[in-house]
Amino acid sequence: MSRRIRTHLPSSRRIRTHLPSSPWLFLGPGLLIVGGFSLYPFVSTVINSFTDKRTLIDGQYVGGANYQELVHDDMFWTGLRNSVLYVLGAVPLLVILPLLLALLVQRHLPGITFFRSAFYTPVVASVVVVGLIWVWMLDDRGLVNSVLGALGLGTVSFLSDQWLLLLSAMLVTVWKGLGYYMIIYLAALANVPRELHEACAVDGAGAVRRFFTVTVPAVRSTMVLVAALSSVNAFKVFSEVYLLAGPGGGPGGADTTLVMLVQQVGTGLSGRVGYASALSVVVFVITLGLMLLVLRANRREDA
């Protein structure tokens, strides 16, 4: 914005303030890396998806064969189902729970900074650390099961049943993400005028009413942002499921997600780069679609 505040310098003078090459020297490293390791791989992923390239063998053009194979590949549908389920399971929790958490830590009570930081700890830890901590917590003889046992609920095999595994991984994702989205909500809540709450309270509205009539409308655009971020991340899930269910993706690969499939198919010396690229294109298209969907839903509500 401030760029607009031009002064009275004659334009010829401004042009001479830098050599024509210097902006490109500044931008050079950045453009090189981003071009070479984001945009070029993207283009080559799309191109490779139309070939039968393997890790050690150059591929031939095969048209849409990879995409046709994909439609008939049971593992693809399993992966797609699991990734979509992941979005449906994790996103609502990641939109609502951090908001409640933010409301809880919003007031400046003594010690609140400590609690805020503590709730953020899982965000700082690596997903591998978090995954392994929960592998131990959810073990058949782990802490969660010994508590369940004491309550007379018996042992729940979180890490061997196909559906319980997926559910556990989702809860790990939610647990790790809570603090991050809580901070986003805290920033949004700080901008909600206090008078609104007070006016509402004077009218006799209880805490729950005020939550729905004041808080939610005020942070709605933040909720959409959180929904967009968390759905994109949930759809691309890899590590949580990989760690809880193992590299093979649980019993018979039933918990494999789409990104896990990309990793399984495309890496190693016999990796099927062409087919993995077609899978990657699907990941990209759906991720972008999710982002646009959420943002559009937001715009429609605004109108």
Partner: protein, 282 residues
């Protein structure tokens, strides 16, 4: 948040309820870490499966940490992680600051196009190009090296855009005065603009460190030799090979997470600021 501070006082009942809730959530969010720490400190004779669970080890010992170091070169892994994270911080800070400055403050043909390149790169999820990146690394013969781990993300598009915004928000007058005095683009960048965006630079540095230290999928794909493993990949290997010994895995995870928790405790405000500034990050 500040105007709330002076708000009306909470009734005692509500206050008690709030602290009860805070403590419950605290147990849920921090408890698992403490349980892991406790497990890692329990000796071979102590029952880690006992009920009721014992949070405090009966006879705390560091044996498990020594044993982990015997089984896998965990300190080498930590050193590799440190190298990767440090390199990632340096390249991201330098590259993003330079590019961000040019995008925000230097007028030249092609600036819009350069900006579009960075925005587009930000929209491509790493997961969807990871196979192609792996092929590129093979062609460059950088697979299975630490350079290969760092290179793809060594100047993040998101960081460039963060730095661009930081520079664009600086008042222009000071730099204009420097212009008039004949300072060139580099001098204006280094002497005037850069010292004013230290806060954002710190955010970029912290998130670059954390990103590299915690990263899993990319190092998993690009590294194959144990001697080059980073901590996250080493932990995954430890878990795969010695899964039956929870004490060892616990010790490994504590080694991996402790440096970041210490860093977070010291630099909290930058972590939180980064969430606000980088909320668009995918």
């Amino acid at each position: 948040m500040n105007q709330r501070q002076s708000g009306r006082r909470l009734p005692v009942g509500q206050l008690v309820l709030r602290y009860a809730l805070l403590l419950a959530v605290f147990a849920l969010m921090v408890g698992p870490f403490l349980w892991q720490l406790s497990t890692s400190l329990k000796g071979p004779t102590e029952d880690i499966y006992s009920y009721p669970p014992k949070l405090l080890p009966g006879d705390p010992t560091l044996d498990n940490y020594a044993k982990v170091a015997d089984l896998i070169p965990v300190w080498d892994f930590a050193l590799n992680s440190l190298k990767v994270a440090t390199a990632n911080v340096l390249t991201n800070c330098a590259g993003a600051a330079l590019a961000g400055y040019a995008l925000a403050r230097v007028r030249f043909r092609g600036r819009k196009a350069a900006l579009v390149v960075f925005v587009m790169a930000m929209l491509v999820p790493v997961e969807s190009i990871i196979i192609a990146q792996f092929m590129t690394m093979r062609e460059l013969q950088l697979n299975n090296t630490l350079v290969g781990v760092v290179l793809p993300a060594c100047i993040g598009a998101m960081n460039v855009l963060l730095m661009r915004n930081a520079f664009a928000n600086l008042p222009y007058e000071v730099e204009e005065a420097a212009y008039v005095d004949g300072a060139n683009a580099w001098q204006r960048f280094w002497r005037i603009a850069l010292p004013s965006v230290k806060g954002t630079l710190a955010v970029v540095a912290i998130f670059a460190f954390m990103g590299a230290w915690d990263d899993f999928l990319w190092p998993l794909i690009v590294l194959s030799d144990q001697s080059n493993f980073t901590l996250t990949i080493g932990l995954n290997y430890l878990h795969g090979t010695f899964a039956h010994d929870q004490r060892l895995v616990a010790a490994g995870t504590i080694i991996a997470v402790l440096p970041l928790i210490v860093m977070f405790a010291c630099l909290q405000r930058f972590f939180f600021r980064g969430v606000g500034e980088g909320a668009v990050k995918g």
